[in-house]
Amino acid sequence: MISSEILRGYPFFAGLSEEELQRIAAITEEKTYEPNTYIGYEGHPAEKLYLVVIGPVEVQINTDEEGLQRETVVVRHAGEVCGWSALVEPYILTASLFCPAKATVLEIDAKAMRAMFEENHHLGYRILQRIAAIASERLKRTRFQLLGKVALQPAGRG
């Protein structure tokens, strides 16, 4: 549980009522990660939505089938959101989240948040609208990242 005042500072929650912010604050915990640690791994169940308090948090994708090599697609800084897969079926992380330095994040219980959406459609609509925009941007960046690598390969194959 954190203060709803903290959430108010995040553009992600712009337009939400005081009551809505309080309900979200009640299912949010602050957590600190040590340097060179992972918040979560691609392919694992996505259970939390993360708001970055002190970053950066690197969003990394596997670039081989075994999941041994990763590359950063986008870096999330203070005030930004990551871990949106926790609000989107099938609730599996589409990327790994890495802290290169000591980081602080707010962790929102996604299951509890999804239950709120069922009761409060307005809240769900506002949040999912933003999630759709973040996910869409990620898709765009991932295409560029991977196609950039493909373009660097020697010609005449594939």
Binding site: E89, Y125, L128, Q129, K149
Partner: protein, 171 residues
Amino acid sequence: MDVHKALRRSAFFRNLTDEQLATLAAIAHTEERQRGEYLFREGAPADRLYLIVSGRVELEIQIDAGGAIAVVEALSANDLVGWSAIVEPYLYTSSGRCVQPTVVVAIDGRRLRELMRADARLGLEVYQEIARIVARRLRDTRLRLTRWLHTTGTALAEEIARAKPHAHQDE
């Protein structure tokens, strides 16, 4: 093809009520496109989203300033394309080219956004589906491209390995 029927058939709109579906049908119309025609262009303001009734649409993105393009998706009947029309910043992230004669239901993006604002339940439903589609395409994109990189990388490693003995002989 009846717009209402086409919308009802799509899994994308499966959770909408008859009333919501009728409202949606009122801001949509069917279009027939020739092979080679573009439904939309990358970077252009996204004003419509399309439900494919029949045919095939490929999504292309420009990968360098020289105009080289890459096909990132191939979509067919009952797939939804052009969802950028309801996702900020409302710009198409790829170009949609019909690679076969194609029939689509075109939905007015601005009016759909108004409907979603007025009916939050509809808004939530549609954004949930959009997010699901994006997440699936994200997964498919990564798998397809890493597989491609893997096979090319292996072929390259084999080539280097084959070349090595000769290199030693030269020394």
